[in-house]
Amino acid sequence: MTFRSKLFWVFTLALLLSVGLIAAGVMVVTQRAFEDLNQQHSDALVAQFQREFERRGQDIVHRVQGIADAEPTVRMAIDLSRPKSDVSIYVNDARGVSHAHQLDILDFAANDGSIISSAEWPARFGYKLSWVTQPEDWAARGSFLTKVETPEGPTLALMSVATVRVGDNNLYVAGGQRLGKEFLASLVLPTGMRALLYLNLDPAYQPANLLDSNGPANDAERFAPILEKEQQQPGQQTAKINWTSDPASAEIFHALPLLGRQKELLGVLLVGNSQREIAIVENRIIWLALAVVGIGLLIGLLLSWWGAARVTRPVRNLAEGAREVAAGNWNAHVDVRGGGEIGQLGRAFNQMTQQMSEQRERLVQSERVAAWREVARRLAHELKNPLFPLQTTVENLQRAKEQRPEQFEEVFRESTGILLSEIENLKTITDRFSDFSKMPQPELAAVNMNEVVRSAVKLFEAQFGAVGRPPITPELHLQEDLPAIQADSALLHRALENLILNAMDAMPAGGVLMLRTTNNNGKVHLEISDTGTGLTPEECDRLFTPYYTTKQHGTGLGLAIVQSVVSDHGGRISVESETGVGTSFHIELPSQPARRAQTIPSIFEKEKGKEG
């Protein structure tokens, strides 16, 4: 994966993470806002309910007090205060009075609590309404919620009690209104909200006691958990009911306990808030957020791609420069813009390549000087050998002519023979130098390395088994499916000849010459090993230096030529040797030669060009 791709993915991930976090944050904030809105609606409805409850309570207090203050009631109280008063005449009064005052519940009770007249249950006269006689300041109590017995069964009513006192006797007037569907219907509810009332008339939860504004509520069983919890521990609670699998069908219910005089739980108001509108809005927000995220991501991806490309361009230039340096182009230069770390790196790279180039120039210069010195030394050495006999021969001739003229003819014949021989030697020396300097450029063609190896070995077959010298056994291990390489077969042949000659020189006592070719990932690997005397590490280090030789009569140019050929084909040559065991040369040639690297011979050529 490229640096650009990595950077792109890092940017993308960072963008995704950021967008995701922001989206999640927005969702959470939105959800909280909706929850707050829900809570506000519910609180408003609960407050409305409480206000309505209070208003109705006040209304009932006024009505009941009005009944208590009315003349007929006072007359009734006076009548009741008389001994052996006949209360039967009042038995039907409550019904008419309750209708007149729009009260569902109205009871007139005597001092002992016995009902004189009851509107909600006329037949209950004579029985005790015991709770009204309990010590209580009814005037201060105001309205309160209580359970009322009716022919249809117990129900909840918002009640008030007023007393008419005549002498020591009280006439209790207990009146109120039922708390039921009519009360729920009177509440003004915002859209999406509804109110339900549970009449806690039984110890266990009874679905039939749950009312809405139309009567018994539907699916009342679903409210069992919240109402049972309320029965166990009265208090404001919230519960969510999912009517279907669709989240929009959900309703959040806030439960408000309705307590009686003794703080007993008599009812529960449930304020339901439909989640439909919120779900729709949330859905819209989600889709909008997704669209924004999608567009943002698309833009972000494009920006990331562009940004990654922009950021990595200097790095790619640096990598390209490094590759050029690796390929031998030490003059590689990268285009440096900006002042950041990458810019500094680019400048450092340019500085480095410049320094390397200069150092290489200096090195080449010093190597060139050293090479010339070596050449001079070798030339001096090579020339000194034939020159010395020439000098002594000429001096013998001079001495013979001056001191022994009679022997001059004989000396002359001998001396001219020596002179010719040494001159021949000088000529040979100059030819070798001439050959080395004239190393041609390879003419590339498809070459099978195995054939080159076989051809070279065949050339020396006669010498391997020559009479008078220990035999050398050639062993060929050639990989048959070796790919063809672009090379100059003549130059390769010449290099192989030098290597085989060296091997033969290294095995004066005979031995085995092994040649192996292998395919190394498209490159051809050639190994030439002998079982000769071997080389020391120091010798190995200097082995490819021109004019360096370990042999008595060598010119020191054979391996230099081999290295030159290998180098001209873009290959590599190395040597490994162990004294007394043998030496192995390893040559690796690519299928296609790369740019021709500068070699020592080319240096000479350059130098020659300068001189020329």
């Binding site: 039967s88 005449i89 249950w121 037949a123 006269f125 004579g126 029985y127 022919p151």
Partner: protein, 396 residues
């Protein structure tokens, strides 16, 4: 014979008590007697049978006015107009105008005509009476006291109508006599008389009133809630009892609701349910889910044997009680024994005796509340003239 003498003396004393002193004035002929009744009679044919008790009673009154001959079973017959009055106008179910028959046997009635409005509500009748728009109306017994308080002239008869709780045979819920006894013991008759009937009536323990049989006091009318609870506790848990009452009868409704309250106090679960008003046996048969029903029985005769046999004949089809004939004449012991047997079965639980209450305008004279089996004495009623009536009204 002694009983009849007693009854005669009682009737005389009651009549003397109710008739104002002014009746000593000379009767006056003429005038139109305006009558309003609740029942709506749709036929004046003597042979037409009517199942509704109220309508049946009203038709009997009409028959007594327009027919001459009275049969042995109390019905009237012969030709319409042969009686005290002749039919002048007739609109079935709405009104009838009767004119005095000049040739009536025994002499012409005092009033020239009688205008009878039918199908009037009790409240409207009372209002019309107070406003002087009518002279004679029926007043529900439970409203009698309030009417008196409002200055209405009221005539109250002997209590001759029995309101009883009847348990039909064949109901599994009430087949156990303890169920019936428990409910009977829970009922507070005194409060029904005092509060619902406003003290116009008597608590009933037996099937005949005290003034008729003379043995009614031997039957307990007191509630015994402890006994009711004990009995109910002995019974396996049963379903809620359903007590039926006549849909159009406010008195029955009030009594039924009171019984429900009484039963509830004794731990007995009872609900009251209105049923269409019809003849008792038919209503009971039609109300398959009714465990007990309130029923009214009007005494057809002051004679105990006749009245009792009549009651038994009406109850027997429903309750399967013994309706065999009593010896004629029957001794008080025979009558008491039969009464006791029936009451002890708790198939019939007598509750209260109800009187007939009439509202009269100030100009109506010589009105005597009819006794059991008797019809309205309209032939003997005469009306004050306008001046006398105004004076009478002022006095009131």
């Amino acid at each position: 014979m002694k009983l009849r003498l007693c009854l005669f003396l009682a009737a005389i004393s009651f009549a003397l008590a109710t008739v104002p002193a002014e009746t000593a004035r000379r009767p006056r002929y003429g005038g139109v007697l305006r009558v309003e009744i609740e029942a709506a009679v749709s036929s004046l044919e003597p042979t037409t049978g009517v199942k509704d008790l109220e309508v049946s009673g009203a038709k009997r009154q009409f028959d007594a006015l327009i027919y001459r001959r009275r049969n042995s079973d109390g019905t009237f017959s012969s030709v319409a107009g042969s009686g005290l009055f002749q039919i002048a106008e007739w609109e079935p179910g709405k009104h009838v105008t009767l004119t005095a028959n000049e040739n009536a046997p025994g002499g012409r009635p005092f009033v020239d005509s009688i205008q009878i409005q039918m199908g009037r509500a009790a409240r409207d009748m009372l209002l019309d009476l107070e406003l002087g728009k009518t002279d004679l109306t029926e007043i529900p017994v439970e409203q009698a006291r309030r009417a008196v308080d409002r200055g209405v002239r009221v005539s109250v008869s002997q209590p001759d109508e029995l309101l009883a709780l009847v348990f039909p045979a064949g109901r599994t819920t009430t087949e156990d006599a303890r169920v019936r006894e428990a409910l009977a013991a829970a009922i507070d008759r005194a409060s029904i008389v005092n509060f619902i009937l406003q003290k116009n009536g008597e608590a009933a323990g037996g099937l005949l009133p005290q003034w008729s049989s003379g043995t009614a006091f031997l039957f307990s009318t007191a509630a015994d809630v402890v006994r009711a609870k004990e009995l109910w506790a002995q019974l396996p848990k049963s379903a809620k009892l359903v007590l039926g009452y006549d849909l159009g009868d406010p008195l029955e409704q009030s009594v039924a609701e009171r019984i429900v309250v009484n039963a509830r106090e004794a731990g007995i679960s009872v609900t009251a349910q209105a049923t269409p008003g019809a003849e008792a046996a038919t209503a009971m048969a039609a109300s398959g889910d009714i465990d007990a029903r309130l029923m009214r029985f009007r005494m057809p005769s002051p004679v105990p044997r006749v009245a009792l046999m009549n009651f038994l004949a009406a109850l027997s089809p429903v309750t399967k009680i013994d309706a065999s004939l009593l010896p004629d004449p029957a001794s008080p012991q025979d009558i008491y024994d039969r009464e006791r047997a029936i009451v002890s079965s708790y198939r019939v639980v007598p509750l209260v005796w109800l009187p007939q209450v009439y509202g009269l305008s100030a100009r109506v004279r010589n009105w005597i509340a009819p006794g059991p089996g008797e019809t309205w004495p309209l032939a003997d009623v005469w009306l004050d003239g306008p001046a006398e009536a105004a004076s009478e009204k002022e006095k009131r």
